[in-house]
Symmetry: C2
């Protein structure tokens, strides 16, 4: 843990600027209308409320490692689309007939602020908007945009987020094998990470072998990320309901936190290896990933 935590976050100067650019573009893509249009307000609240922006940052940094200029407007559009999909999935996961969550990003969940119907409509509008943003992404050739839409579509649908949420709903409270939990985590987390990195590769015009390595990277990164999420459940300051996983069959409940730490580091090491194959050193992505995990793991060490 400390090996990561001790590393200086040399992205310190770059990340705030990237986040600011992302949030400015999100604000442009989801323009404010009237306060009476509650769906619009809910879309903005769900997307623009302070968040970690992990996925869009990952997209921008991986694209940079693959040779793109992060100032390229199309890249920012792709990154915003991924963040909209993520925000929509959180809004839907939180509604009463799903996880019935009270808090998200430190605020009352969207359905508690706006009602369940508005939360669902806002999520649908965000999903739909995300596909439109990718289809119209600036400065990208149309064949790249269609590939990016296809990647995003796969990550959301029946082989992605939707299936992950369904498995979590139907099997989450039953005894599950470690493999079953692995699969659910893959669907819930790795698939959208996968699409995120594929979109970076598509923007960079990366060849098939690089794209394949990035798929492997996303798989391990997603698993590490979900394990971290399970480990920090119960800590204050996550901005989400605490102890939401109590009664759920997570790997922490099954194997204990020490074994989960070991698994997490195993996945991070593998992620490193895949990343190094995909884009030489992958320095920006790698530094970001290690800084992120280092900070979080330091909280629970």
């Amino acid at each position: 843990m400390t090996a990561y935590a001790d590393k200086p976050l040399s992205l310190d100067s770059e990340l705030p600027a990237l986040i600011a650019a992302l949030e400015t573009r999100l604000d442009q893509l989801l323009p404010e209308s009237s306060e009476r249009d509650r769906v619009n307000v809910a879309m903005r609240e769900g997307t623009l409320a302070p968040g970690k922006r992990i996925r869009p940052l990952l997209l921008m940094l991986a694209a940079q490692d693959l040779g793109c200029d992060t100032a390229q407007a199309g890249l920012l559009d792709l990154a915003c689309a991924v963040e909209m999909i993520h925000a929509a999935s959180l809004m839907l996961d939180d509604i009463p007939c799903m996880d019935n969550a009270l808090l998200r990003r430190g605020r009352p969940t969207i359905h508690r602020q706006f009602g369940e119907n508005v939360a669902i409509l806002a999520a649908v509008a965000l999903l739909s908007k995300a596909f439109g943003v990718v289809a119209a992404a600036q400065d990208l050739p149309s064949h790249a945009r269609t590939q990016a839409v296809a990647e995003l579509s796969s990550a959301v649908g029946l082989q992605g987020l939707v299936q992950g949420q369904y498995q979590d709903l139907t099997e989450g409270n039953d005894a599950r094998s470690a493999d079953a939990i692995f699969t659910t985590n893959e669907l819930k987390t790795s698939m959208l990470f996968g699409a995120t990195l594929q979109m970076a590769a598509i923007a960079a015009g990366a060849p098939a072998d690089v794209r394949q390595k990035l798929r492997c990277f996303a798989l391990d990164l997603g698993q590490a990320f979900q394990l971290l999420d399970d480990l920090v459940d119960g800590l204050a300051g996550t901005g989400k309901d605490r102890h939401k996983d109590e009664g759920k069959s997570t790997l922490v409940a099954m194997l204990g936190s020490e074994a989960v730490h070991q698994r997490l580091h195993h996945h991070l090491r593998r992620a490193d290896e895949h990343l190094a194959c995909a884009c030489d050193q992958g320095m920006a992505t790698r530094r970001f990933m290690h800084a992120w995990f280092g900070q979080k793991l330091a909280l629970i060490s």
Copy 2:
């Protein structure tokens, strides 16, 4: 009315073949997995249950009028995507926190069959799949596919179906002006008709002036369609909850059915005029539209 009802449906031989092709392709695009995967079963039930297939037929017939071969595989993919979007919107409109409907297409609504969470997940998966199908539509150049994704995205989102459903939810039971009802109907119905016809035009490579005329056609057709829907509310045999509009401020409630008939015919005449400008005679689309309205109006005459 009788002017339309008396016209022979010369599409009698062609329509069943088109519908069969559409349903075969939908079945391929939404392959059956296991009975345990309830989201997959719900997606198939919501899409493949017998429906009128108005939107995909309109897409195929308009494309034919614009010079396309309806056997073109890409056209079928676009038509299936529109039907998936329509099916997803019905599933969401029916859930308890929206219209709380019991019956759809003559069967219990999807949330009554599968639960509310599965209905929502299936709708999200269908929406997402639809964008993926358009992005990968066969035999269409990628610039056409990105334009089609953008059209569909606009029709679903905050300036389309989502906003229409929100207005209906928030204002549907209050006294509204005829203009307000017109706007809601436009959002609920005309916008997806509009995207449907734009996708036909995109597939056919139609020029901007034709596309503009088709937007006008869709606007009037959508209004006529919604007025017809209001007129038949309360009749048996629609496959939907009867008298669902009771207490709602529809134009039928406000102006009476005779005035609504007149408005409907006004919109149909205008639709005819726009269509004739857009594609010479627009014979296939025109025959289909008149046959459809003729049959339905005959039921209430």
